[in-house]
Subunit: 739 residues, 2 copies
């Protein structure tokens, strides 16, 4: 079957991605995981489905009718069994690992069961089917809930042996949900509040794509985004930021369950969390429903979801009051069940209490049988959608092609030719402005490029001039207005990036405010979300705003972070190169540090050079033996070039190296590295308007690093550069100091 | 007078602090700025005030009566003049600098006038008077509002020439409010949301000290905390976190003005911010008042403040609807007036529009005269309080001594002897547990130590066992429950630290989640707030929680940050040493990275060693010529020690160096550094379970750095250490690889 061959491909790719992830950050060209295999909607496979046009509609309605029928016939006992299966899979896995969080799965098993068994539309044999409903466990510590559900639903990623390997080396069931380890997990959660913000991004992506591509006769994009968040997520500021935006955007297909269990690690939430969450969410523009009995009130939960779906212009928060560790006679409703194994004795007591006679990890036959239908139903759902896509493609050829490009992440051939290039005669300009030229050029050729700024669009220069604003009533547009919500912005972009391989989210603020969004950026790096971070005002060069706004240690802090590209282009060609790299790296985020101030277009810079991370832009030496090597990045490269001119006037053989991305340079061959920074040449001077921390690796023990190891100051930029000694004179003096 | 001599001392000290700040981060022992000079409440000065007991009460009531009378007589015209003076000082300063934010001061001048002229109790000639009302401009970009007010009120820090030097090199009027540059500015703001969270910390400090020290007959601690925040602050998650806590704690003396002007940088707030702030704050447990006319509704503003003061069990948000850039005929109510000079033509038009005939920077005589009373009134307020303190001291000797210690930051002699020490025979333990021993030992001798965790007290081991919880009804206690709000926690601690020199706030979470609070930590470093960051679970050694919870790049990221101490102790003695350093550094925050896992108590470790940052813990070489130097930090120091044992068995001369704090080592003499890391010995191996980034500086071009340059994994800790090669075998192999 096409679906299963798609799956096979997906999994093969996933396997490679995981190896690369754990093996080394040097593997940047990991393959995309397509939402569907093109063979399933074109060519032979398409023909075969097209040749059975009647069969699929039959399957479709049959599947739906069967689902309804099954649901109606399901007895309470069976549901209870299923719910307890979820509970005990969590209990048993945590017990075996002697590590983990049983409390949430025990309390949230009812809503989990209803979501995965009754509500959500997915295909367990192709976790990457494009039009699936998305589920995010924002309270990621409760991941055994999701693993149990994926297991019951028939995902190949979570077999019984995977459950038994919970939290062990090399397993597919790590201690928090990781999309890059476990197909079926959409995003990486655990750090609280990230997941709900990812969910806002997923729902944004759906709303945007639906508005762009749906037709009155064919709603080709149409899914819900569900999330479960706990008290911890609710306390985190990022959740408020993202939920404020979700309300503003009217993301009606976002349905979040708030596991209201009144317990956090330190005890009753009374000690630190007494706000009215309901009132706050009403203030944020959400529809709020309260399910008072989340432990056994199945019909209440079902009714709430129905009500939520009926409200199409607002996201819905379903507050579900539950008992953490439900079923544990001595530990339920206490913090002790949150994050530790119950212990053999209490597991035994819980088995008795819930009437569960089975061995660990056992799934009763009736439960197994009940859930087994999801494999065929899921295949039917995907096949039905594939047929729908075929119809769409016939009628709306251009749109289908664009949508296909977004779904697969295969960009139009030659897209990179759209990038602007510059000559030394091109006017001096700030790299933030050059960045805007790149963004606007790319938006014309990359259908999945969208993004915006945290209320600094006019400073970050991130507006796409040919598009309007993504807003509640204009969701087809591509300029996203995030407000002053950097942290939410980053996590929303992670959600957008992980929704579909061809969506390329970018977001922007001042470089110093990466601090505000650092947790989301770290998760971009970890979860392989190719977000483009457009970070302007990247040094003391921003001037008068002063030290609160001037980044110092930020370049170093990202160079130290795994799997993220820190790029600091020096002029137009390098900015274009940085964008080429950023677009190509779909499994690794890129941070572009850009200047507020005007910079010269330098001779010798190139897109190709940027792709190598470090390269020579000028050299009057021969035999790879310069007297001195001057190394600069970004706005200081022109200072290095100026210093070289002066030194050359005095007869020195000087090489100037642009070191735009340390990570990319690290990935080059030893031969290449030697050709740029020959080991024998220890007379090296680096200059960068940031912390010198880390530069010793590049300049060596005998070299000199010129930088700034204190906070900035409020004054005109030129004055600060001079007072802080970030000058060509300082470079010349350092170069001459080598004896 | 005592007050003026106190001021002189304060300013002299401040001058030194500022020089140190701009000169180098190496100056760690900057002197504290006392809230009052001890000479004013003890010794000769005290006697003189005691000898005139009648005079002060007379002054007190006279000053109050005069204030009321003056207020009543003040004509609307005079107030309008004063408010326009504030507006034009802002306009003129921004115009002269051709840089800055005139919009907010023009819109907020009325509330600013009422606060500083009618409401707040302060002494302009001693900005550090302990019992002053605190004011925080959370919307820090509008700092010209505060500079204008400090100028009118008679603060020596903002003279006319300072206003003319706005945003210039070396001025006391930088681009955002900086407490370390401008006496009268309480905290450092600009990064949005930080200020309101600082204000929550200031109000917490007041509530705590009042509860501990006030007596029915003598309310010695008694002031309000005021803040102005804008739309930007409201959007930031940190503001929601801190305000949720303020509501939970019932901080009735916190009064925040929300400058509701509907404009942010990108335009009308309609594009990204349509939530109901009122409803949200009601949900957070605040009292909410709406002043509909913030432009000219002086009586409305006054009535709102009166109402706010009457609500004593809740903080109050006064939403003040204003017009940004009020008075500018062509730019008011638009984003163009937010962050740029008006331009000569529009300044002229605004002068005409508001009927302002004066030269730039002119303060009309009636306004000058009207504000001039604050100097004498402020002196009277402080004198009155000093007398009150005398009475307090007579009656409550012990409490007075404790309060004095908190106010001055002079700790009881020999406090550091309370720190525990350990021998190699002491039981192995996790440094997070050893940290708790230190905290509990210190809490007995340091009256200003208070703090807590972001819902991880039982993991971070931060509870002070002899105290209860700081809560709404038990504010005298010292265990603060922050909930899962790391960012708010950090900024609240900044507020506590800056309230009074002797308050020593500590706060805790997992080390990886420093990412969540990094902006607040950076401001700790910048604003010289000696917060102690207790960061446990500091590596892959935390095990099964996996890569979302395992710090990698975090040590490097703080080592690169100016003016912050990154400490990673290896055992009990080093943990005690880290606390000694942290307590002594009242003008520089400390980050303690602590292990989850048990560690051996190592021979050779010491408190004195930690104070030097890096030191030899064992050595079998002679003549300062070891064959190899092994360098470790924290949990890897025992691995280095083990590797040394093995190498020594094979006859090698091996030195083991603990590198607990790079910053402290950097500050040692060259002789000392050479004695630990002799330049001639290039065979060096470092081992640390974190990024190797930066280690090249320590091990040199020929050395080897063993570390982790990828993300962690979910598995038992020992397994990850082995798989990642963080082992004694790896150290031995590296040491042997030197030819």
């Amino acid at each position: 079957m096409a679906a299963s061959s798609s799956l096979t491909l997906s999994q093969a790719l996933l396997g490679r991605a995981i190896i690369a992830h754990h093996g080394s950050t040097a593997h940047t060209d990991r393959l995309a995981l397509p939402g569907f295999n093109l063979s399933t909607i074109s060519g032979r496979a398409l023909k075969s489905s097209a040749s059975a046009p009647r069969k699929r509609p039959v399957l479709r309605s049959a599947a739906r009718a069967a689902a309804v029928e099954t649901l109606e016939k399901t007895e309470t006992a069976l549901i209870e069994n299923s719910v307890n299966t979820i509970r005990f899979l969590a209990i048993d896995a945590v017990e075996k690992a002697n590590s983990g969080h049983p409390g949430l799965p025990m309390g949230c098993a009812p809503m989990g069961h209803i979501l995965y068994d009754e509500i959500m539309r997915y295909n367990p044999k192709n976790p990457y089917w494009f039009n699936r409903d998305r589920f995010v466990l924002s309270a990621g510590h409760g991941c055994m809930l999701q693993y149990a559900l994926l297991h019951l639903a028939g995902y190949d990623s979570v077999k019984e042996e995977d459950l038994k390997q919970f939290r062990q080396w090399g397993s597919r069931t790590p201690g928090h949900p990781e999309n890059f380890e476990t197909p079926g997990v959409e995003v990486t959660t655990g750090p609280l509040g990230q997941g709900i913000a990812n969910a806002v991004g997923l729902a944004l992506a759906e709303k945007h794509l639906a508005a762009r591509f749906n037709k009155p006769d064919n709603e080709i994009v149409d899914h819900y985004t569900y999330a479960i968040l706990g008290d911890g997520c609710q306390m985190e500021g990022i959740a408020n930021e993202a939920c404020s935006l979700a309300g503003h955007w009217g993301l009606g297909k976002l349905i979040a369950f708030y596991d209201d269990n009144h317990i956090s690690i330190d005890g009753d939430t009374e000690i630190a969390f007494t706000e009215s969450v309901d009132t706050r969410f009403e203030g944020l523009g959400w529809h709020v429903i309260w399910v008072k009995n989340g432990n056994t009130g199945y019909d209440e939960i079902r009714a709430a979801i129905k009500e939520a779906k009926a409200v199409t212009d607002k996201p819905t928060l379903i507050k579900v009051t539950t008992t953490i560790g439900f079923g544990s006679p001595n530990k339920a409703n206490s913090y002790s069940v949150h994050g530790s194994a119950l212990g053999a004795k209490e597991v035994e007591a819980t088995r008795k209490n819930l009437g569960w006679p089975y061995e660990p990890f056992h799934v009763p036959d009736d439960v197994k049988k009940h859930w087994s239908r999801h494999v065929s139903e899921g295949a039917a759902l995907e096949a039905e959608w594939n047929a729908k896509f075929l119809e769409y493609e016939k009628k709306y050829k251009e749109e289908a092609q664009e949508l296909k490009s977004i779904i697969t992440g295969e960009f139009p051939a030659g897209w990179e030719k759209a990038l602007p290039t510059y000559t030394p005669e091109s006017p001096a300009d700030a790299t933030r402005n050059l960045s805007q030229q790149c963004l606007n050029a790319l938006a014309k050729v990359l259908p999945g490029l969208l993004g915006g700024s945290a209320d600094l669009a006019s400073s970050n220069m991130t507006l796409l001039k040919m598009f309007g604003d993504f807003q509640k009533n204009t969701p087809e547009e591509r300029n996203v207005r995030f407000g002053v919500r950097e942290h939410g912005m980053g996590a929303i972009c992670n959600g957008i990036a992980l929704h579909t391989p061809g969506l390329i989210p970018y977001c922007a603020t001042f470089f110093v405010f990466t601090d505000y969004m650092r947790p989301a950026m770290r998760i971009s790096a970890l979860c392989e979300a190719g977000v483009i971070y457009v970070m302007t005002h990247d040094s003391i060069g921003l001037g008068e705003d002063g030290p609160t706004h001037q980044p110092i240690e930020h370049l170093a802090s990202f160079r130290a972070m795994p799997n993220i590209l820190m790029l600091r282009p020096a002029d137009g060609n390098e900015t274009a190169g940085a964008y080429k790299v950023a677009v190509l790296n779909r499994k690794r985020p890129s941070v572009l540090a850009l200047s507020r101030q005007k910079l010269q277009q330098l001779p010798g810079t190139s897109i190709e050079g940027v792709e190598k991370g470090g390269y020579t832009i000028s050299d009057n030496s021969s035999g790879n033996k310069p007297d001195v090597i001057l190394i600069g990045t970004g706005s200081e490269l022109e200072i290095a070039a100026k210093a070289a001119d002066e030194l050359r006037k005095e007869g020195k053989a000087v090489r100037v190296v642009s070191f735009v991305s340390w990570e990319l340079f690290d990935e080059q061959s030893d031969e290449y590295k030697e050709s740029v920074l020959p080991a024998a040449v220890t007379n090296r001077v680096s200059i960068e308007a940031g912390a010198t921390f880390g530069w010793q690796k590049i300049v060596g023990s005998k070299g000199k690093a010129i930088g700034i190891d204190r906070f900035g100051a409020s004054a005109p930029a030129g004055k600060i550069y001079k007072e802080y000694g970030i000058t060509a004179e300082a470079v010349v003096a350092a170069a001459k100091s080598f004896s």
